[in-house]
C-alpha cells in the first residue's frame, strides 16, 4: 500500500513536470510543424536563471521563479521572431539540424556563464518539509508540483476553451490558411504560443529541478524524454500530452521502484511497443 502510494505520488509529480515542459513542444510541433529539439533548452534557461537569482543573488524562491520564467519568455520571443520563423519552412531534417545547433549554443552559453556543474535551485523551508496526512507523510515539494501541474492544466484549458486567444490558436492549429483568411494574425498567434510554451518549459524546469536536476547538458539528456511525451500523446494534442506525461511518469516511476536495474530498458521497450501499435500517438488530431 505504502509502495503503491509512493509510486502514485512520485509518478504523478514526475508526470506533471513532463507535461509542463512538453506541452509547449506539442503545441509548437502541432501548430508550426517544426521539430524543435531545442525546446528542453528553455527549461534549462529557466532553471539556470532561477539558480542565479536564488543561489547567487539570494532572492527567495518564489520571486526567483517568477523572474526566471519572465526572463525566459523575454528571450524566447525575439528568438522566435529572428530564427524560428525561418525554420518553419525547412524540411524535417533541416529543422532537426537547426534546432540541434540552437541546443548546442544554449548549452555552450550556460556552460560559459555558470560552468558545467550542477545548478541547484534552493527550495524554501516550507517545501522541504513533509506533510502529515494522518496515515502517512508525503514530501511537500511533490504535492506542490502536483498542485502547480493541475493549475497549469486548468489554466491552459481556460485559455484555450474560454478566451479569444484560445479560439484563434485552435483555428490556426486546425487550418492555418483558413484562419489567416478570416483575418487572424497567425504570425502573432504563433509568437504568443511559442512564448507560452517556452515559459511553461521554464516553469517545469525550475519546479522539477529536484526530479530532473539542472546542469548545462540538461537539454541533451532529457530531449528524448520530452519528444517521447509528444510522440506518445499525439502532436498538437494538449489532452494527449497530459495523458502521455502522467502515464509515462507513472510507468517510469513504477519501473524504477519495482525493477530498478531494468527501469530504463523496460520504459523504452514499452514506449516502442506502443508507438509500433499507434504510430501517431494516443490522440490523433483530425487533419
Amino acid at each position: 500500500m505504502t509502495l503503491f502510494l509512493n509510486i502514485l505520488v512520485d509518478g504523478v509529480a514526475y508526470g506533471m513536470i513532463l507535461f509542463m515542459i512538453s506541452v509547449g513542444l506539442s503545441v509548437t510541433m502541432g501548430l508550426m510543424r517544426v521539430v524543435n529539439l531545442a525546446h528542453g533548452g528553455f527549461a534549462l534557461l529557466g532553471g539556470t536563471f532561477a539558480h542565479w537569482f536564488a543561489a547567487e543573488l539570494g532572492l527567495p524562491f518564489w520571486p526567483a521563479l517568477v523572474l526566471a520564467v519572465t526572463l525566459t519568455v523575454a528571450l524566447s520571443l525575439p528568438l522566435e521572431r529572428v530564427i524560428y520563423r525561418r525554420i518553419y519552412g525547412f524540411t524535417d531534417l533541416q529543422q532537426v539540424l537547426a534546432t540541434i545547433g540552437l541546443t548546442f549554443l544554449m548549452i555552450a552559453s550556460v556552460n560559459l556563464w555558470q560552468g558545467s556543474s550542477l545548478l541547484p535551485v534552493p527550495l524554501p523551508e516550507g517545501l522541504k518539509a513533509t506533510v502529515d496526512l494522518g496515515f502517512r507523510t508525503l514530501p511537500a515539494h511533490r504535492l506542490m508540483v502536483i498542485a502547480a501541474g493541475l493549475a497549469v492544466v486548468l489554466g491552459l484549458w481556460w485559455l484555450l476553451e474560454r478566451t479569444r486567444f484560445g479560439i484563434r490558436l485552435r483555428a490556426a492549429v486546425d487550418n492555418r490558411g483558413t484562419a489567416s483568411a478570416h483575418g487572424i494574425n497567425t504570425d502573432r498567434i504563433f509568437m504568443a504560443a511559442f512564448g507560452l510554451g517556452a515559459g511553461l518549459a521554464a516553469l517545469g524546469g525550475v519546479l522539477g529541478a529536484e526530479i530532473l536536476p539542472i546542469d548545462a547538458y540538461y537539454p541533451l539528456r532529457y530531449m528524448v524524454l520530452f519528444l517521447i511525451v509528444v510522440a506518445v500523446g499525439g502532436m498538437g494534442s494538449i489532452a494527449g500530452s497530459f495523458l502521455a506525461a502522467i502515464g509515462l511518469g507513472l510507468l517510469e516511476t513504477a519501473a524504477r521502484y519495482l525493477a530498478p536495474d531494468f527501469a530504463t530498458i523496460l520504459f523504452f521497450a514499452l514506449v516502442m511497443a506502443l508507438l509500433a501499435l499507434r504510430p501517431n500517438g494516443l490522440i490523433v488530431r483530425a487533419q
Binding site: 539540424l97 540541434i100 545547433g101 555552450a108 530504463t264 508507438l275
Partner: protein
C-alpha cells in the same frame, strides 16, 4: 567531379599522413567517422530515412568486434565481418518496427533504439565493462602481416583501406538498380509503390545495409583504439554524424567524406583552442550550414559559379 573526387580525397589522405605524422590517431579517427557518415548517407541521403540513431549500429559493431577479439579470435578482418553482421542484425530487427513510422515518430524511435542499446551496455557490466568501457582488446596483425604499432601507422592504413573498400562498394551499389530504386523511393514513394516496388522492404534492406557498414566503422574504432566505451552509443555521436553528412551534402558519397573531414578539423581546432566551448563553434557552424548552405559544401562550386555568372552578365 564525381569521377575525380574519390582520387582527390585518397591523395589528400596520403598527403595528410605525411603532413601530420604526429597526429595519426586523429587522422585515423577521421577515417573511421567517414565510414560511419557514409553508412548514414546510404540510409538518409539515398533511402531518405531520417535517423538520429546511427550510433546504435556503430556501438553494436564496436562491442561485437571487441568481445569477439577478447573471447574468440583476435583477427581484425574476421572482427570486421562479425561486427558488420551484428550491426546488420540489430538494424534489421529494429528497422522492422522503426520503419513503420514516419516523420518525427521515426526520428524519435531511432533515438530510442540507440538509448536502449546504451542502457543495456551500461547495465550488463559483467560482459561490457559498463561505464568503465570494454578493455583488454589485443589484436593480431592485419592479414597476419602488419602489427598494430604505438604510433598508429598500421591503424591509419588499415582504416584507409577499409574506407576505400566501403566507398567503392557504395559507389557500385548506388549505381546498381537497387541504388536507383532507393533514389526513386526518396523522390516519390507513392510512384515507386505504384510501379510495383516494395517500398517498405527496400527501406528495410537499405537500413540493414547501413547498419552493417556502421557496425564495420564501430569495429575499426574498437580494433584501432583497443577500447570500447559507452560513448559509442551516445546521441551526440549520432547527431555529429548527421551534422557531418549535411555539412558535406547528402546523396553524394564524396560529400559525406568531405563533410567529415571539415567537421573533424573544425572540432579539433575548436577543442584545442577552448576545450570548454567548442560546442559554441559547432552550434554556430550547424546553424550557418542550415541557413546559408542547405545543400552542403558540395554545392559551393555551383553556387560560386552561379555568382560568377551573374557578375559576368551584369
Amino acid at each position: 567531379m564525381n569521377r575525380i573526387a574519390p582520387f582527390a580525397l585518397l591523395a589528400l589522405a596520403v598527403a595528410l599522413y605525411f603532413a601530420l605524422p604526429y597526429n595519426l590517431a586523429f587522422l585515423t579517427r577521421i577515417l573511421i567517422m567517414a565510414v560511419l557518415v557514409l553508412s548514414l548517407d546510404l540510409v538518409l541521403g539515398f533511402a531518405g530515412i531520417a535517423t538520429l540513431g546511427q550510433a546504435a549500429f556503430y556501438g553494436a559493431g564496436a562491442y561485437a568486434a571487441g568481445l569477439f577479439a577478447i573471447h574468440a579470435w583476435a583477427d581484425p578482418i574476421a572482427g570486421l565481418v562479425v561486427a558488420g553482421v551484428a550491426g546488420a542484425v540489430l538494424a534489421f530487427i529494429s528497422g522492422l518496427i522503426v520503419l513503420r513510422a514516419h516523420g518525427l515518430t521515426l526520428i524519435m524511435l531511432t533515438i530510442a533504439v540507440a538509448a536502449i542499446c546504451h542502457e543495456i551496455a551500461n547495465k550488463a557490466r559483467d560482459i561490457t565493462g559498463g561505464a568503465d568501457g570494454l578493455r583488454g582488446i589485443r589484436m593480431e596483425p592485419v592479414l597476419g602481416l602488419f602489427e598494430f604499432d604505438f604510433v598508429g601507422q598500421t591503424g591509419f592504413w588499415y582504416a584507409l583501406a577499409v574506407l576505400a573498400v566501403v566507398f567503392t562498394f557504395l559507389t557500385l551499389l548506388t549505381r546498381a538498380p537497387f541504388g536507383l530504386s532507393l533514389r526513386g523511393i526518396h523522390e516519390s514513394p507513392e510512384r515507386m509503390a505504384a510501379i510495383g516496388t516494395s517500398v517498405y522492404w527496400r527501406r528495410v534492406a537499405a537500413y540493414t545495409l547501413g547498419g552493417a557498414i556502421a557496425g564495420v566503422a564501430g569495429a575499426l574504432s574498437a580494433q584501432v583504439t583497443q577500447l570500447v566505451s559507452l560513448e559509442s552509443f551516445s546521441f551526440t555521436l549520432s547527431a555529429e554524424a548527421l551534422i557531418m553528412l549535411i555539412l558535406g551534402g547528402t546523396g553524394r558519397l564524396y560529400g559525406a567524406v568531405l563533410g567529415t573531414l571539415v567537421f573533424m578539423f573544425v572540432h579539433h581546432w575548436a577543442a584545442a583552442n577552448d576545450p570548454f566551448n567548442w560546442l559554441f563553434v559547432i552550434g554556430a557552424l550547424v546553424l550557418a550550414v542550415v541557413f546559408f548552405l542547405p545543400r552542403g559544401l558540395v554545392a559551393v562550386p555551383t553556387a560560386l559559379k552561379r555568382l560568377g555568372g551573374q557578375n559576368a552578365g551584369s
